[in-house]
């Protein structure tokens, strides 16, 4: 166990030394890996933010039910009891015309418009939340509601939500495809840096083999070399995303204030960040391993 630990410790120290010996090329490699990771991860963060934001604008699959202006209270009561019994309805809220008018008056910009009107032009309304989001259910429900007596108009509030959800889904797919491609790029970058390392250290490898080094002993520092590059590259990507959030934070806040929404951009969660670091380290390891297998074993003492 002790020997095992000291082998790994030595290999890691050696890997750090080798990285430090070529600072410029190390920085370049880390930059490439960092940028490669920051693209898909940045898109992911962006999509997450958009999704959270859309959740704030609308809560779930909603339908607005506008009644005719001449609807009596008892007719509204009948609709209410229908909604209570309908299995597709999760909850509903009655908005009498008077309170709708109040709401309008409180809205900035609209207050003046309302004051200029005689009487209340607004109808009574129900805001209905459906039990599930599927387009099928919503369509059935909206058709059933439209046929009710005294219902003027049914508006599906979630139509734009569904479009957005489909768009986000497409965006995620694009982010995934980009991740796969850029992962291959990262593997190629590490593969190549390790190849160059092996070529410059040919003598050392030969000597080590001659005095009894196992393949594992020779391989280990290279694997650490690749893993460290991958891991630090992942951290660079995280920092790039942080920088992006920092730079766009103020403008976004300002924009959201215009929409009277309190929304702040958020970063990758702790779990997501950890997954990204592990993934990038893993890719570094894989690139190093492929390189070592294809180059190191060809070096035999002469």
């Amino acid at each position: 166990m002790n020997t095992w630990f000291s082998y790994h410790w030595q290999a890691m120290v050696l890997a750090f030394k080798r990285l430090a010996l070529i600072p410029f090329s190390t920085l370049l490699t880390l930059g490439v890996i960092g940028i490669a990771f920051s693209l898909p991860a940045g898109i992911y963060v962006f999509l997450e933010n958009v999704e959270t934001l859309s959740g704030q604008f609308s809560s779930g699959p909603q339908l607005s039910l506008f009644l005719k202006l001449n609807t009596t209270q008892s007719e509204a009561g009948k609709i209410e009891s229908f909604l209570k019994e309908n299995p597709h309805v999760a909850s509903f809220r009655f908005i009498p015309k008077a309170s709708a008018l109040e709401q309008f008056k409180e809205s900035p910009g609209l207050a003046g418009v309302m004051d200029g009107l005689e009487g209340n032009p607004l109808p009574d309304a129900f805001v209905v939340t459906a039990r599930d989001v599927s387009a099928e259910t919503l369509k059935t429900l909206s058709r059933a509601l439209a046929e009710l007596h005294q219902v003027e108009h049914v508006q599906l509030d979630s139509a734009w939500m569904q479009r957005l959800a489909a768009l986000l889904k497409l965006g995620r797919l694009a982010a995934w495809m980009l991740s796969v491609l850029l992962s291959l790029l990262v593997i190629a970058v590490v593969f190549n840096t390790i190849r160059l390392q092996i070529l410059t250290m040919r003598d050392e490898i030969e000597v080590a083999k001659l005095i009894g080094a196992t393949n594992g002993f020779i391989r280990r520092p290279f694997l650490y070399f690749g893993t460290i590059q991958g891991l630090v590259g992942g951290i660079v990507a995280w920092l790039i995303i942080s920088l992006g959030i920092h730079l766009t934070g103020e403008p976004v806040k300002h924009l959201m204030q215009l929409y009277e929404t309190d929304f702040r951009l958020y970063h990758l969660s702790m779990g997501d960040s950890l997954i990204m670091f592990l993934f990038s380290a893993g890719l570094g390891w894989l690139g190093a391993w492929l390189s070592v297998v294809s180059h190191l074993m060809k070096i035999e003492p002469r």
Partner: protein, 217 residues
Amino acid sequence: MISFSEVFKRYPNGFEALRNVSFTVETGEMALINGHSGAGKTTLLRLIAAIERSTTGSVIVNGQDVGRLNGAAIPFLRRNFGLVFQDQKLLFDRSVFENVLLPLQISGFESKAAARRVRAALDKVGLLSKEKARPITLSGGEQQRLCIARAIVSRPSILIADEPTSNLDMEYARDIMAIFKSFHQVGVTVLISTHDVELLGDLPQRILTLSHGELTG
């Protein structure tokens, strides 16, 4: 114990480096391999360390058939040897100390004990005061002694040296032969190749003479 029986080594270009070589060097014995340049001395030593394999015949080291060892077993065979190379094979980007430390790192030595052993080996070859120096700053004789320190640091049971005194003046050469002799005296099997007949004069050791790949005496 090192034992050759009917060993042939033929290279792909048709050159026969060794022809029907058979001999045995007992454990604790010291033997010199003498012969002209190109007689096959280096090839013979390389077969022992499994750097090359014989075309036919068998090479037995400590009861193991070297030619039949698989790749994974070769590093462990080599840890039995202290190898002194003709071209020294020092690592010029490491200090004297680190060069000697390498075999101990490879066999997984604990670092404090390793440092003690490295200093003991450097002391033995008279390089203790230069442990922090780079090999490039050493003289030819010092580089040769550094190579010997690296070979003996892991206390091998077999010491193999390929032309350790070539390119050295007589005084250094005698020093180095004396170092080998002291190892022989503490029970290490020592095998040295040399073309330098003058050195053989005051060493009453067993001498194997190679001529054009054949053992002649």
